[in-house]
């Protein structure tokens, strides 16, 4: 679906199912240089299993226009504005759009940082945080930043090679005929000049993690990472694990691009996370 914020088009994936006011909202935030399509299977699954799926393209990504948001906190602000604008949970403008605990915020990589930042802003509205391919701080190598700044193909190569496990780079997709690595490369190539660099720089620079973690508190977070993730090393993931009191799922034969590399395992991990919300 298409909406607008500040006169700019915002494209939102819904899993192609209409929202219902009596359902919780599942927010899915994509990573650097990507768009909503990285969530396609999960969005379609959860949209058919009791969730109002909101998978937006950040500004200047995918089907959204406008200027790229240059830092993680701005992304978090923007996502809350989007949630309010969409009135996913109904409301008439006077009453709160989302009841407390009505939102599950999931994000991948840069999107995970944005989800964490927004969870720290309105802690009561977020029932559960699901962080995929995440670490904090999310340092980005200078070579990758430089290549992205120059809009060089090497940036795409670095992300697709370092971002996928060995097995994924050879391929074995559960979606017949689709190359996980080449699909990721095509997505990154579609990013407008400067967008990938802005995203990576935002990840690299964000220092709001401690505050967001402290605000959100413990026991409401699931972290899902690949065993072979070379984009967000394990030690950076562990920096979040204990402070958030998070549940950790480490996926074998999986790198950074967990949703495309291991869609079925990620689905099961997310279902476990959501059951913990239901269990209260």
């Amino acid at each position: 679906m298409i909406t607008e914020i500040d006169g700019h088009v915002v494209f939102v994936g819904t899993g192609h199912v209409d929202w219902r006011e009596d359902q919780p909202t599942l927010l899915l935030l994509h990573g650097a240089g990507m768009d909503r399509t990285v969530w396609v299977l999960l969005a379609r699954y959860f949209a058919r299993h009791g969730y109002n799926v909101v998978a937006p393209d950040f500004p200047a990504h995918g089907g959204s226009d406008g200027e790229v948001l240059g830092d993680i906190d701005s992304q978090a602000d923007w996502v809350w504005r989007l949630i309010d604008t969409l009135r996913v949970g109904g409301g008439d403008g006077e009453t709160p759009v989302l009841p407390e605990g009505a939102l599950i915020a999931a994000g991948h990589s840069m999107g995970a940082l944005a989800a964490l930042a927004m969870a720290g802003q309105r802690t009561a509205q977020v029932a559960r945080l699901v962080l995929l391919g995440v670490g904090y701080p999310m340092g980005v190598g200078q070579a990758l930043l430089d290549a992205a700044l120059a809009n060089e193909r090497a940036a795409v190569d670095m992300i697709t090679i370092f971002g996928h496990a060995h097995a994924s780079r050879l391929g074995r997709n559960t979606v017949a005929g689709i190359s996980v690595v080449n699909n990721a490369a095509a997505l990154l190539e579609q990013a407008a000049p400067g967008v990938l660099h802005a995203d990576l720089a935002a990840c690299n620079a964000w220092q709001g993690g401690e505050q967001a973690v402290a605000s959100f508190g413990q026991g409401r977070t699931s972290i899902i990472v690949g065993q072979e993730d070379r984009m967000t090393p394990r030690r950076a993931t562990m920096n979040l694990l204990e402070p958030l009191g998070a549940r950790l799922d480490v996926l074998d034969d999986c790198g950074h691009m967990v949703m495309s590399e291991q869609p079925e395992t990620v689905l099961q991990a997310m279902k476990r996370a959501f059951r913990e919300v239901s269990a209260g």
Binding site: G13, G15, H16, D35, T37, V40, L41, R44, Y45, R48, G62, G63, G141, A143, L144, A154, D157, M158, T160, I161, F162, A167, R169, L170, G171, R172, N173, T174, V175, A176, G177, I178, S179, V181, N182, N183, A186, L187, E189, Q190, P263, E264, L267
Partner: protein
């Protein structure tokens, strides 16, 4: 970070799309000779139909053995996805039908495989799809033939039998300037000699029956989506950028982004037309893929040896291979096909049709049959076989003269090939004189 490397071509040819079977440990790709696949529960069944989880339902639409070949071909061509079909012709049909319906128009090279020419000239017009044929050596001719109804440009990367080399970057630029995709048939070049997606093409198809299989035991085709064409921005492809009631109202671009074309080709093309590659044939074709680079190098070196022999032989009036400095595309081939301009080419005997017939009859090692790209060397007389449905004018347009002989050079010892050609030429020359 050090400079990263993707797996090389030879590695992908052996491994892409497959991990050892988790149940049995089988290293080779198993043949999953099953029409259908058990759903572990009703939720999974519904999810598969909703495209909310990956997996296989029914082998007309996808099959684990075929999927390995599809992912491998996508990897070798640098595409986001691939769809295998029962034949190369099926790949062309699905490739066109995915984005072109009644009222649609194609601008195509006039130098095409006879079966393709037949499809475009006679069969598709019955379904309301028309084609304008143009000189493949003239990119501007493609541009001039584009109309508001045009939905794609189509050509062969290396034509059969005269070896016209498509200027892929220039024709792709023409297509993109008009908001159209370029679909190329790369059967005679294979991804070893050229990767058209990297040169600007948007969709690639192959007859897998030819060099990619190489053994001449299995018919198959493949369609590979480059994933870079902007279907939404073009505004000409509601099949991909608007909800499709034939598949749960799915908007393929909205859901699958770069892989929209490949997904629709499978979800509609295989589902409704049913020109599916069998798992057995996929297995056979995978055996060919594993050695493709090694074989193509030998095909090319053997061809160069044969071309050089024919160039110096008595009784040969013309050789249509880009290796020849006199070939119109010699320079373009050097640029776009640096590893070699293929192993299928034609030559003309000075003695015309009777000499051609005598030559073919005299060959002992070459097999006279209607195929190319086999490990064994092949020969045919196009005017009486592959291009027989074309009238004289169309034959002339396609560059096929009555005395033309087409060779597909195989992997035999090149000395033996040259010896067979030499003795056959001698007998053909004698026949022409008598």
């Amino acid at each position: 970070m050090s400079a990263p490397n993707h797996p090389g071509f030879d590695t992908l040819a052996l491994h892409a799309g497959q991990q050892p079977d988790p149940t049995t440990g089988a290293r080779a790709v198993p043949i999953y000779q099953s029409t259908s696949f058990v759903f572990e529960d009703s939720d999974r069944a519904a999810s598969l139909f909703d495209v909310a989880r990956g997996g296989h339902v029914y082998s007309r639409i996808s099959n684990p053995t075929v999927a390995v070949l599809e992912e491998r071909m996508a990897a070798l061509e640098g595409g986001v996805g691939a769809v295998c079909t029962a034949s190369g012709m099926a790949a062309i049909h699905v490739g066109i039908a995915t984005i072109c319906g009644a009222g649609g128009h194609i601008v195509a090279s006039r130098s095409l495989y006879g079966g393709t020419h037949n499809l475009l000239s006679y069969t598709l017009p019955r379904f309301g799809i028309t084609t304008t044929f143009v000189d493949p050596r003239d990119p501007d001719a493609f541009a001039r033939a584009i109309t508001p109804a045009t939905r794609l440009l189509f050509a062969e990367t290396l034509s059969n039998p005269r070896g016209e080399v498509l200027d892929v970057p220039r024709v792709a630029a023409v297509a993109h300037a008009a908001g159209l995709p370029l679909l190329v048939d790369a059967t005679l070049t294979t991804p070893v000699l050229q990767k058209p997606l990297a040169l600007g093409a948007d969709i690639v198809m192959h007859s897998l029956t030819k060099f990619i299989g190489g053994h001449g035991i299995a018919v198959g085709g493949v369609l590979i989506d480059g994933g870079r064409f902007d279907w939404e921005a073009s505004g000409r492809f509601p099949e991909l950028s608007e909800p499709y009631e034939g598949f749960h109202g799915m908007d393929f671009v909205e859901e699958f982004g770069p892989a929209a074309y490949a997904m629709r080709a499978r979800k509609e093309g295989l589902r409704d037309f049913g020109a599916t590659l069998s798992p057995g044939n996929a297995f056979h074709l995978l055996q060919g893929v594993e050695t493709l680079a090694l074989r193509m190098a030998r095909h090319v070196s053997n061809t160069e040896r044969v071309v050089d022999f024919l160039a110096a032989a008595d009784g040969v009036s013309a050789i249509h291979h880009p290796r020849m400095a006199t070939h119109p595309d010699h320079d373009l081939a050097s640029e776009l096909l640096p590893e070699g301009a293929g192993a299928v080419f034609a030559f003309e005997l000075a003695g015309g049709r009777s000499a051609g017939n005598a030559f073919i009859e005299a060959l002992e090692l070459f097999s006279h049959l209607a195929n190319v790209g086999d490990a064994k060397s092949l020969v045919i007389h196009p005017a009486s076989t592959t291009h027989s449905r074309m009238d004289d004018a169309a034959l002339l347009e396609a560059g096929v003269s009555p005395g033309l002989v087409r060779l597909s050079i195989g992997l035999e010892n090149p000395d033996d090939l040259v010896a067979d050609l030499a003795q056959a030429l001698k007998r053909a020359t004698r026949k022409a004189r008598s």
